[in-house]
């Protein structure tokens, strides 16, 4: 800007900035007028923005702006609109029983769509994105149900959980037998349990002793025929589905240390329609039980 830099380039007739590199000068080409006016306009616009929108941070708050706009309020408004939109269907879900939901195609579609989102938010961390389960967390797609696979059973388990501390929840666990049975006995029981579902046993295993030990210690919960008891959530030991694994080491560990996986209670944490939607969604994974 200084006057001494006011060197006029002969070819273009434009002033230079006064910078020179090996004889090359930098033209100080003026901005196009339309550009300049647009720039001024943006400044005016910015001032207007400060005034009408929340802008300046203060100690406890910020300037509120003339429009009273706040992005948080916008979200609340949007949610209100969404709830109003879903209201009628949600009311229907809340009042209908899960059996009624299954019988109504429109309600079923709505419940499954909502269940899919709720499942991803609440259930997928343990049961997997599609309910595929993991070690200790049941696969919800198969036909083996610890606490029952009817729609009412599933709803009950979701609502109150298992070993969740809720009085209405599923109760019963696999106690540790480490101090009760000697290691050799545990080994025999484990081999016997494997033999029930046709898995090979270790050579030299005393299956007869294992059977006796099973009848004395395990049959109380797992049943004489080892098919489990849904009242207690005890597993069916004769099928091909193993929650923790079917290899002998895992079974031995289970007998010695016991099991007690927790399914939390969702009553009070999720709304009534969402719990029902989840039950219906889980039920539709593998068709549940009739």
């Amino acid at each position: 800007m200084a006057e001494e830099h006011k060197h006029i380039d002969t070819l273009t007739g434009t002033a230079t900035t006064g910078h020179e590199w090996d004889g090359l000068r930098e033209l100080n080409t003026p901005l196009p007028r339309w550009w300049l006016w647009l720039f001024y306009l943006t400044i005016v616009w910015a001032i207007g923005y400060w005034i009408v929108y929340p802008a300046w941070p203060l100690i406890h708050n910020s300037t509120q702006g003339l429009f009273g706009y706040h992005s948080r309020n916008a979200v609340v408004e949007d949610l209100k609109e969404l709830h109003a939109q879903r209201g009628p269907m949600m009311a229907k879900l809340a009042s209908a029983s899960t059996a009624e939901i299954l019988a109504d195609p429109q309600l079923l579609d709505f419940a499954r769509a909502q269940g899919r989102v709720a499942f991803a938010d609440n259930c997928a961390p343990c049961h997997g994105a599609g309910g595929g389960g993991a070690k200790g967390y049941p696969n919800l797609n198969d036909d083996d149900w610890l606490w029952g696979g009817k729609i009412t059973d599933i709803e009950q388990t979701i609502r109150f959980g298992a070993r969740s501390g809720n009085d209405k929840g599923r109760q019963g666990n696999m106690p540790p037998f480490a101090g009760v049975l000697k290691p050799a006995e545990v080994s025999n029981v484990a081999d016997y349990v494997r033999s029930l579902s046709g898995l090979p046993t270790e050579p030299g295993a005393d299956l007869a002793a294992g059977k006796k030990l099973f009848a004395d210690n395990c049959a109380v919960c797992h049943g004489e025929n080892a098919k489990g008891n849904r009242e207690l959530g005890s597993a069916n030991l004769t099928d091909k589905i193993w929650l923790y694994g079917s290899d002998k080491a895992t079974i031995v560990e289970g007998i010695e240390k016991g099991h007690g996986g927790v399914m939390p209670t969702w009553e009070g944490r999720l709304s009534e329609p969402v719990i029902k939607s989840l039950a219906v969604y889980v039920y539709s994974f593998g068709g549940g039980e009739k």
Binding site: N141, D144, K240, G286
Partner: protein
Amino acid sequence: MTQLEELVRQSEVKPATPPPPPSDDEIEDIPLYAARRKIYPQSVHGTFRRIKWVVLLITLGVYYFLPFVRWDRGPDAPSQAVLIDFPNRRFYFFFIELWPQEIYYLTGLLVLAAIGLFLMNALAGRVWCGYLCPQTVWTDLYMAIERFTEGDRREHMKRESAKWTAETYARKAAKHFLWLMVAWWTGGAWVLYFADAPTLVKELATGEAPLVAYAWIGILTFTTYSLAGHLREQVCLYMCPWPRIQAALTDEYALNVTYRYDRGEPRTSVKKAEQLKAQGQHVGDCVDCLQCVHVCPTGIDIRQGSQLGCIQCGLCIDACNNIMAKLGRPRDLIAYDTDLNIKARQEGRAPSYKLIRPRTMLYAAIIAIAGGVMLYTLATRGSEGISVIHDRNPMYVRLSDGALRNGYIIRIVNKQLKSRDFIVSVDGLPSSLVDFVGLPPRADGRQLVSVGPDQTKEVRVLVTDYSNTAPAASTTVLFSLIDADTGAVAQVRDHFFGPERK
């Protein structure tokens, strides 16, 4: 005398050849920007003017009134012949209904449009520009309004150069009012293609229409008013890519609006021509009356040869023919012709018109093939469809008896405007059971699914493999959808997954 007339006057002394291109020195002197030279096109009567009126009436008539044409599709579909139904994602065109996944027909239409444009260009140059382009058609209408309110060329120029009176202002106000009305109607017709026209008209009138409708009417009012009323030939000269592409695509056989300088030069006024003829000198037929320049909507002089500004509307042909008829000279001093023919006539050979050439035949063939493929697929497309998504997690499930099960979500598409029952079956596994979640099981694994009119339905399908053979990591399965009434079939392949073989 305007700058243009000055130019024309100077060109009077030039010999009977097109003017040479400007030299490099001259090009450097051309300024980067030039103020627009206002054009006052004069009215004209004749063959091409009549053709342009007819084309204008047909194209604008179709555009403005098509949304009101009704087409009965029954109670479950709109009764508008042409409707782009965005909320429901459907496009209706008389007896054709397209779903979003059939957007490729639009690609086909664009191919046809492009090659059609090329064919027109190969046959007769810028037919599109001169007669069919919306910019030309609307500008034509706007010029007619301008002549109606402000008078024809002479009257308009005279009034504008004189001191403006109340009448001048009144006439101008009337012009802009009419222009805006046409522009507004243009925007109004546009939005009618996107909703039920009679309903929307009522809503627009009572102020109940959605904001987006008013916004679009506003946008198109603005663009029509500014493009057809104010920018006019500037659009063709500076904004439109087609003239530049056209110049690269055209060839020497394409018929263009051509000043036959072999016949017209040296241009001489009628009086002078008599004298020169008496002296036994050769004179051309052009009397330099400038009618061809005055009627030109882009303000060019066709006698300078083929040029970017020429949209080849043929109005100069009409103007020149009218003059030639008055003078008792032969017609078609300006006509659809080629430079090759001018040279042929100069050399005493007969002119030739080659409309059928490899280029035109190739374009025609592409149009025939693309059009044929589109018609064939449109005529034979199924009105039902099935798509399958395999569960991602878990990929397969081991059941308590050791059997393997895969889960799928299938979506059944019914494109007919009536409810239909479909039989769904899954084949490809030696021993399997197919279970449709929420639907009663059937022993044969085939399930009847009912889908509403013009709707899709999602069904969860569980396929269980009971064969005791070690399952392959992946087996191909075939989902079949069969219309229970007509037997129409749609099929899609997917996979049945098992654990990796060890």
